[in-house]
Assembly symmetry: C2
Homo-oligomer: 423 residues x 2
């Protein structure tokens, strides 16, 4: 209860943050109440929205194939403008292959067929009667961080969300896929599933039955409310920890099969061309990864003094064992504090308090998961895949800081370098 | 991987849920694709909203004093329509005393003064530089469940959210109040704070310094994004586990004091009149409580067969040790499964699978917290307080089920009975 001096934390932060001292504030109080205290405020709303002053906090839309593939592209979560672990529903990233279908939830049907004893159709009202499960899981697009993969021109001042914003986290509630499959009765020879969406692209993927019977959900709710249209309304698969597009949105059909179906979406896309010329297919888990969300490249320069470094870490193979931060180009590493439940396949937020003294330097985070996988440097990761490879980029993000406080993406030194440096 | 028979869960659910068998569904597939698969869907959005088909999932507004107190009232979370633990930001309950102020975040100032070494003013940009903390906490209004408190006519078919919807849960991120107080330097004799909001009601409460230095946050983010206007934009206190109105919204001023300030908001309201005629003041914690959110009173009758009973449990004094369910008017109790991190002051979701065979019965949940407090029956709770008492009602909610499946609020048998039964 005493004035017992500043804590280390407060000191760190207090050394340089300029707050207004007593004298001048006395003036502002004397001047009377601000205008918003003079008259009654706005009345109640049935469904709230963010402040109009925060309109710049939005998803960044990227549609490289707009002319010939309408509705194909991504909307990216602005990671650098968010905090905590949960992504608010309005800002969850979106990857769609042919737009967001306007499904009539009462008419929508989920068909379970193929190698089952009795094919079944479930309506929403049926599924809502089943026992539910609630879990917090990240979903990361297989192509997340594609701007660091050499497939597109790298903009060195692109923000964290504009590079890595194809990961989002929700509390998902739904029915275990296992429950529904067991209702239909799985035949002995079954080993795979085909899952298909009700969008115009009929996005479909093959899923091993083992994963389907383990932790896969037919999700109906996201952060407490019904799933949003762009997230698969009225129902989607959540195949936790695996590349995002297997979590089929607008789920309409599950066919139990003996072998993979080799759909267009897992042959033309979402397979990994190696430097050797061979292609990896069915590389499902998104491996251990972390990214510093603040500070980030972008228009806002860093100021000398205390800097609260924070970001997210996750692994599709388990939970997070540790996150380390380097502020000296990888020479030394310091363990960051982590927050969150740290349940498997649920991200953590990491925090590390640092004092920047104006030196040229770089900052980077490196996560290690419960299976002892450690996030690789980009030079290590890129040895494995050919130039222009888009998927499973879990390499370390380095932010370079210039003496004048400008923060850049470190990866401006590779093949595409010339192209963008002309700008 | 084999057809190994139905799990107990699936059996429970499978016995009576009618899904469409093979033959008829084959027709629906033959008939071709649904209309929403024929043409490309809607394009990307920068900030998503719920499906227009879910427009009935909204807060219920209650403004009993509208004529003489504009903007005073509540907007209640529709608990029976939600799942999981997190409340989506658009549906977090609201209690406002004079509307939602339209605060200019760039002009807004937080003043720390009173018994401090150096009074300080913080702008938003200052606070954003400090180390942050992320925690999942419930906020429950001190007057939650007032419809069961005899102060208003009881409607026996009022839904769960319409009775108990003044509790919501968010992942809050902000700066520890301790950090900010330590920056100003707390004087030796200080024991209390006054915290004041920047709404036209200048809502203010006294808070013991001990709690302020423990786990109180100046919250800036809610479920990842900036706090919504009706939740205190741009900043609010979160005083976890304590009655909601102490978590001052639109926070503008903290005065460090020796004694409580005895503000209008803690003398005319938010104090507890006992049967004895004495009044309890500063009864801060919201005690252990649970409520079944599904099934709930309301228009939808229960059908015979498997019923997934689910709801929320929380305690302002710790975490949840167990939740028990009775389906036989309190004769026997069964332990429910609980989900969630079960961190202190963070709710859990409970689940219990039951088979209703059409008998007249009642269902109720009873939570016990880590301090071994158990939720009381309403008859026990009401012995303590006088008729019409509004606050700290943590008594057990009983839902009565008639043989035709109608679900009612059990508490139709007390003083207000005659009034509503005339309807």
């Amino acid at each position: 209860m005493k004035k017992k001096g500043l804590t280390r934390r407060a000191m760190l932060s207090g050394t340089a943050i300029s707050v207004i001292p007593a004298a001048s504030l006395a003036n502002s109080i004397k001047e009377g109440s601000p205008s918003w205290m003079i008259t009654p405020g706005k009345t109640f709303s049935e469904y709230g929205v963010p402040s109009s002053q925060e309109e710049n906090i939005k998803r960044e839309i990227f549609q490289p194939y707009e002319e010939y593939a309408p509705g194909s592209g991504v909307a990216m979560t602005p990671l650098e403008k968010l905090e905590g672990i949960i992504t608010p529903n309005g800002l969850h990233f979106e990857r769609s292959h042919n737009g967001v279908p306007n499904i009539n939830a009462d008419q929508h049907e989920l068909l379970i067929h193929g190698l089952v004893d009795k094919p079944l159709v479930f309506k929403m009202e049926d599924l809502l009667k089943y026992p539910m499960v609630t879990k917090t899981y990240f979903i990361e697009c297989g192509g997340n961080s594609f701007y660091n993969s050499n497939a597109f021109p790298i903009a060195i001042d692109r923000t964290c969300g504009s590079i890595h914003g194809l990961i989002s986290t929700s509390e998902w509630t739904g029915v275990s896929l296992k429950t529904v499959l067991n209702e239909a009765g799985i035949k002995k020879e079954a080993l795979w599933l085909l899952a298909e969406g009700a969008d115009a692209a009929a996005m479909s993927r093959s899923i091993p039955l083992e994963k389907a019977l383990d932790d896969t959900l037919i999700a109906l709710y996201q952060n407490g409310e019904r799933i949003r249209p762009e997230q698969g309304y009225p129902m989607r698969l959540v195949v936790p920890g695996w590349e995002g597009n297997i979590s089929i949105k607008w789920l309409r059909r599950i066919k139990v099969t003996k072998k993979p179906t080799y759909t267009k979406d897992e042959t033309s896309k979402y397979s990994d061309l190696l430097v050797s010329g061979k292609t990896l297919q069915f590389t499902f888990p998104m491996e251990v990864k972390s990214v510093i969300t603040q500070p980030t490249a972008g228009p806002k320069p860093l100021k000398k003094g205390p800097v609260h470094i924070t970001g997210l870490a996750w692994s599709g193979l388990g939970n997070i064992k540790k996150v380390e931060i380097s502020t000296d180009k990888g020479k030394t590493w310091n363990v960051a504090k982590i927050e969150g439940s740290n349940e498997p396949l649920s991200p953590v937020r990491f925090r590390y308090n640092w004092i920047w003294q104006g030196e040229e330097c770089s900052i980077e985070s490196r996560a290690t998961d419960s299976k002892n996988n450690t996030q690789p440097q980009r030079t290590v990761w890129s040895v494995k895949f050919g130039l222009g490879h888009l998927y499973h980029n879990n390499s370390i993000q380095i932010w370079r800081i210039t003496p004048n406080g400008k923060v850049f993406n470190e990866y401006d030194d590779l093949a595409q370098n010339e192209k963008w440096s002309e700008k």
